[in-house]
Symmetry: C3
Subunit: 679 residues, 3 copies
Amino acid sequence: MDLEKDQAATFPPINPRASFIWHGGDYNPEQWPPAVWDEDIRLMQRSHYTVPTVGVFSWVQLQPDEEHFTFEWLDTILDKLADSGRFVCLATPTAAQPAWMSQQYPDVLRADNTGQRRHHGNRVNFCPTSPNYRYFAQQIAGRLAERYFAHPALVAWHISNEYGGTCYCETCASEFRSWLQQRYESLDALNACYWSAFWGHTYTSWEQIEPPYADGERAIHGLNIDYRRFQSEMMLHCFQLERDAIRVFSPDVPITTNLMGTYFDLDYRSWAKEMDVVSWDNYPRPNDSPANIAFQHDLHRGLRDGQPFMLMEQTPSSQNWQAINALKRPGVLRLWSYQAVAHGADTVMYFQWRRGRGGIEKMHGAVVEHAGRTDARVFQEVTTLGAELERLGDKTLGATTPAKVALLFDWNNWWGLQDTVGPVREKEYVPVIRQHYSAFWNRNVSVDIVFSDSDLSRYSIVVAPMLYMVRPGVAERIEAFVEQGGTFVATYLSGLVDEHDLAFENGYPGPLKRVLGIWSEEIDALYPEQGNQIVMNDQSGTYTCGRLSEIIHCEGAEALATYGTDFYAGQPVVTRNSFGKGAAYYIASEPEEHFLNDFYARLLTEQQVQPLLEAPTGVEVTRRDTEQGTLLFLLNHNAESVQITLPREQRYHDLIADKTVADTLQLAARDVAILSMMV
Amino acid sequence: MDLEKDQAATFPPINPRASFIWHGGDYNPEQWPPAVWDEDIRLMQRSHYTVPTVGVFSWVQLQPDEEHFTFEWLDTILDKLADSGRFVCLATPTAAQPAWMSQQYPDVLRADNTGQRRHHGNRVNFCPTSPNYRYFAQQIAGRLAERYFAHPALVAWHISNEYGGTCYCETCASEFRSWLQQRYESLDALNACYWSAFWGHTYTSWEQIEPPYADGERAIHGLNIDYRRFQSEMMLHCFQLERDAIRVFSPDVPITTNLMGTYFDLDYRSWAKEMDVVSWDNYPRPNDSPANIAFQHDLHRGLRDGQPFMLMEQTPSSQNWQAINALKRPGVLRLWSYQAVAHGADTVMYFQWRRGRGGIEKMHGAVVEHAGRTDARVFQEVTTLGAELERLGDKTLGATTPAKVALLFDWNNWWGLQDTVGPVREKEYVPVIRQHYSAFWNRNVSVDIVFSDSDLSRYSIVVAPMLYMVRPGVAERIEAFVEQGGTFVATYLSGLVDEHDLAFENGYPGPLKRVLGIWSEEIDALYPEQGNQIVMNDQSGTYTCGRLSEIIHCEGAEALATYGTDFYAGQPVVTRNSFGKGAAYYIASEPEEHFLNDFYARLLTEQQVQPLLEAPTGVEVTRRDTEQGTLLFLLNHNAESVQITLPREQRYHDLIADKTVADTLQLAARDVAILSMMV
Amino acid sequence: MDLEKDQAATFPPINPRASFIWHGGDYNPEQWPPAVWDEDIRLMQRSHYTVPTVGVFSWVQLQPDEEHFTFEWLDTILDKLADSGRFVCLATPTAAQPAWMSQQYPDVLRADNTGQRRHHGNRVNFCPTSPNYRYFAQQIAGRLAERYFAHPALVAWHISNEYGGTCYCETCASEFRSWLQQRYESLDALNACYWSAFWGHTYTSWEQIEPPYADGERAIHGLNIDYRRFQSEMMLHCFQLERDAIRVFSPDVPITTNLMGTYFDLDYRSWAKEMDVVSWDNYPRPNDSPANIAFQHDLHRGLRDGQPFMLMEQTPSSQNWQAINALKRPGVLRLWSYQAVAHGADTVMYFQWRRGRGGIEKMHGAVVEHAGRTDARVFQEVTTLGAELERLGDKTLGATTPAKVALLFDWNNWWGLQDTVGPVREKEYVPVIRQHYSAFWNRNVSVDIVFSDSDLSRYSIVVAPMLYMVRPGVAERIEAFVEQGGTFVATYLSGLVDEHDLAFENGYPGPLKRVLGIWSEEIDALYPEQGNQIVMNDQSGTYTCGRLSEIIHCEGAEALATYGTDFYAGQPVVTRNSFGKGAAYYIASEPEEHFLNDFYARLLTEQQVQPLLEAPTGVEVTRRDTEQGTLLFLLNHNAESVQITLPREQRYHDLIADKTVADTLQLAARDVAILSMMV
């Protein structure tokens, strides 16, 4: 093992006033009578629940009508928490407007995709362009900041909750037209970018433009993606308005909102730029693979270029909204909590402290379940974990992951890809991204998730699966990266359209043709029972492939593998193009998993990127560099114990077990070690 | 066989003027020209069709506009029927309002679940709170009663038809608010019961409350279930209004409306209290198990605590609205008709007399099909059956079923269970109820279906599967039952919430904890490919279980079986708690069918509840006690003949074959015997 | 082989000014800057693209607002095309109204099936009864005709595009009422035909009648089918209005609109009568059977009683709107193009010339793909085909197919059958039609598709599967056909209802009883896992059958086969009734494919209808008679080459290979030969 020295700057703690791994999460005392509050405090102390999140959804409790504000109960709660040594992540309540607001100002309600105004209820049911919603949301955020900016418990602001969805109301329609006028300036420009002459959809007046209603205009891809951009921006604007209202009073406390991983509706890359710290809610399926969860963590670490994030929510036991909601097995909560830290989390937080008695989340897992008993398995696992995290102190905070491999993910690409009609209906962008990610994860090679605007210069290998939409500057950045020695990998369905979802006219993969040295002539789509083969030209093997198969021609590249069958048998399926000091690869068909494992193994060897550790299957290893040195996280996802061989002559300190480790490490089922390299 | 003497009172016939098994059903002469009517009468006489149901849906024919009534055709029909020796079940036509009414008074139309008023058409498309609908429905019911109360043919009133569905219109919304104000008195009380502080949904004014629109408030379980209660009550109120309008003129003729078995929308238990006699429409799938049909009959017999019911509708041949509508095989119509009688029916009636030439039921089975031929198989089977029933006279009427086993079914529980989110999406309340029912049916043990308000004192064993919602008084009644020596059986997902769908805070199974002597800590949900085992502590066997598995702790109870695998292996899965003179059992996971068969076999033996008869598989045996003595119904559901061994030294009279039977009985495929015990 | 002489008149070419197989299709220059136009012309010349279709959807480009028309660009295009030796199929642009029109005259927008007006967008989104739409559509059609009637390029008019769908707006509702008043004259007549007394749906005023809204009246089959008829007529009326506006200026140029095969919404038989030439768009699934495609071609040839049709659209490579859009393998485009000609096409045209850069069809196949390269496989295949077609000249034009077998297809029957509730939900009319068709196709026996109003006298065998609805005159025509020696074949689900969807009262198959000599008493529906057998009385075999099984009685007919099992075992399942000089057969259950092959083989032998050629499996043979003599098309659908034995002592000229052929013919994979019989 050769952990090269990386001069990576580490990051400051989220809030220097609370320089430890925050352990806490959603706390809704407003749902219980005050009599329960003291019991809550007692149990929080017992379970090392250090940073409750307070205030999410409590708008009507804070503002029961337009004229009155009732902060007194919140004063009491915050004081009690401070008095008991807790800190608070304080939320604005704006994810669910009060019923009085929906009733008095119906424009605050969201409209469905035919333009029909919805009824009041549920959550995230506000129109993001509604002047009234914006006014009231800013107001309550400002009031909270004004009142609590100096409260001793306050360590972070949590704005609203899980923004998302789409509104199609008249206000949005009108704002959208203004947004388009700013963006395109002339109708001619818009018509050109929308290719609206197709089916005679040319607009002759701005007033004719409507959102892409389900019962209206769905045929213009440029309109569809612009409406996604517009809605993502408008919701972000709501966030910004609250953020700015808070900063007037509370300029130094970090502000976040909780994201949701590969969530389709919002371009989180642009959102992250507006946040002081990224936070997210981790709700995998009970049987999800650890690689998929790891990918999500890396995605959120990447959103702000490596800055540690907050694990804002996870369930202590089970979820409730899936079709089947299994319990987290003993040890899984701890294992998955450390997995978050291993990938960049500086907090371990839950939804939710106490399980509500009513409402549609009453069966969702909580630290304190309905029985309120401390001898419950879940409460005890949380308590044990809390104590451990407390002992870790600040040793893992602010660390960085020195990855040499980057995987490119792009929301605009996802939107465009998903919307395009053909060559297959289900594009499976995220599954494909995960397939490539897993090939590295399987070898314990750190991966950064990067974006179309990311700096690629620090990486050896950049992989961009299905980069259907190539926005301005992207091809140039990739070319520069390869020219300077980088290794770039692209796949089928790349380089088809520009940022307006207009097809490139010079042949696919459009602006990536030069660096890839190929022309993709046709895209074949195969039925599930069909398939083809990837036959390696160096005789190293044959793999199956299918679903999508492009017929490509080398125009500068060399073929590494050819198709094994069908009328394009013998034509290239995997190519390599030398370009400057580097090389660019193209994988023209969807391969089986084995291919990616072998293919990337070769690339990693060539680029001298070595696994962090050779570990048994199901053992995940990540590296985090702190100012004090390098940490290795070893996570045993197996339900059995394993023995791990450590590099010779290297001694470590296991931060959790607080003991020295060398040569071999026995890791119990679902156990974790955090090894600090000893000099 | 030991048929203990039971002092059960028998019931009077539905109407003493027609003291025989009614054979008849829906007759819509208004669809045909008068020329056909005499042919109808001729064929009814021939087929022993003694009690046609007349008037269903004939509103526009009776009241072609707001001012005019046209009863003359009905006068003619009733007279012809009376003249030919028929009786009549006379229906009010209010299930389908005339088009003129929908057009002149649009408030009579139902609104869909987004509040959108529907167009006129189909049936049961009225708003149950519409003042205009109520006015006109009462009016026509009263007019019919006034005109026909003394008609010689009249033996029963049939109000409207298959009430159901839900309306979400503005009238309903407004009436719902009034209903809530009466129920909760204060908004604070309502907010507390609705746990509306969750997601900040606290109401600050009554006017803010809306029905649970599909595009509005769906997150408050208390609201959801209250709206179901409200709608069930409002429809019942429509029934009551018509009933009372009829009683003014016709106080002595029994009044019913046709129910539909385990129909989700309406709480039939509360409906049955308002009816003079229960009636229902039996439409099983062609391949449904006879146990499932038997369960439905027992449910309807239970609705009025054992009182015989009317089989109001069944198809003589095939249905038409299922995906695949097989014919009833020869003999099945007769077999299923006697099955109804065996479980408590005092009538055998059909939908429909003559198959309509148009409309969406034109392919539905009928006694007289389109060809109108009497040599048709179906007409002949009906005729043969009619003759047999006629010969039976009043011998089966008014009988009682002396069941010692009760199975608890509760609509409020179903509503709450279905609505709750987690731990699995599909709760399968009815399938689970049926699974327990079948374990008794398989042994030919009579079962009564009881409800949360039923008197349990006459039973030896009470089974209450998935009693998620325990309403006030229920736990107390169960405790009293067990204390006095009863055997109570509960399962996973019991005792979670109160009548407001609020979780109990003392740990599940809430108010049933004391009698069951357990605490259920966690509920695991398993994927279909997973499973666990029930390992009997007495070494008597191991069974598979799964889907839902609760982790329970004995707090007074003893474990009869433990889990075989997973992290809760060795923890109790079946428990028994001695309580007073009786015992209460808990089955913590969903077992395979074999477990229930063995488990209940042991309980029945312990409680000395013996099968009515040991009979071959597929032979159903029920008991009905009349004032003249005990009847055994033997129903051969097999497509082959069987030989049944009768108890030694007991002689019977077979009422159908009219012969003496002893020792053994040969029963042909799908044949039936009604054995009267001879002294 | 005995190709009998048929005195069939041949047909004139579509337009004598262009007496060759047109090779061309959709060309949308308005989507590109003029700079691309010259390149288009160059590539069209190169690829022998002789007849581009211009103007589809270009309304806003021709009329950017109500007052202005901008034909100049179209002038230029038409002139350039003429100058380069092209002809033009000129389209009216009315399939997609401009946004300005939807905005200024909202009544032009279609309403969905609850009556909700849709938003602007997509295509075929106009209300067919809208006075404004009709005004503007006529106007633009007239203006185009006035301007271009004498243009040298003009050879055909193409009105609108792929008419279809249904509108439920208030204008349609009102027009529908007028249409009904004309049709029924009295409400009593309408009520009788609608059997509206069912469920009390009798109308007491015309104003009460509404379209069959999804949230309204769905229970009246007569209403449902009348609304289909009305909508089909109203769209046809739109076509007629444009056609007539064109004819004022351009009376001699043939007018068409492009149809879509077995498209449910429109009764193409009545449409075809209004068209000068039928045209259609052939988009099979990539894995569709050639028999299914052949059926569609024969359907369109039948629409105008054998007149050659235009293949207006097909994709040169792949479609994009299916779930999986495979490429057409090399040779398939050519094979399927000749298949069209073999069945009666006088044109081979594409959607589309150049692949658009944006919009939801940007991934649809085109002659010129995004890269614009002429070395692309698809461009080259098109070019080769174009050259071949050019060489064929007029040799195949105007030919006739001398079929002795006719298969009856009827849109009204389809509508009624699909709408009826029971005995199975999925009626599968088209799959069943195709099953019968394939039995003939498999033997290379020519089939004409005929309709309820067709002249049957020229056929030996007429097959009418599932003729559920027998409209006036049909039974009489069938009786006459059989009386004069014809062979008629009917199946289960025949003769149930009249043209109002009212069941016949004399027993099924209603008016077909006399000719078939049977009575169908009951219709059994079987679950997929069930089945029955067809046991041939002559011991010739036993076949499986199922899904639907009618219990029939011979009333004059003789049983050829009986059921093998179930309670109707031994009852007839296949019957033959001698009637006059002919015979009528009834197949009472859905048979396996083998049965139909054997059954029709026997009938063909009896009727002395011989295969055109005994050819290997997968080789299709069709016959087309021209004034010059008889042509045989040999199409090898296999992916391997085959050897075909030709009739002894007959020599042919292969028109494509331009060589003499005798004795045997070797046909490469997917290759085609057109053999002209040499005297």
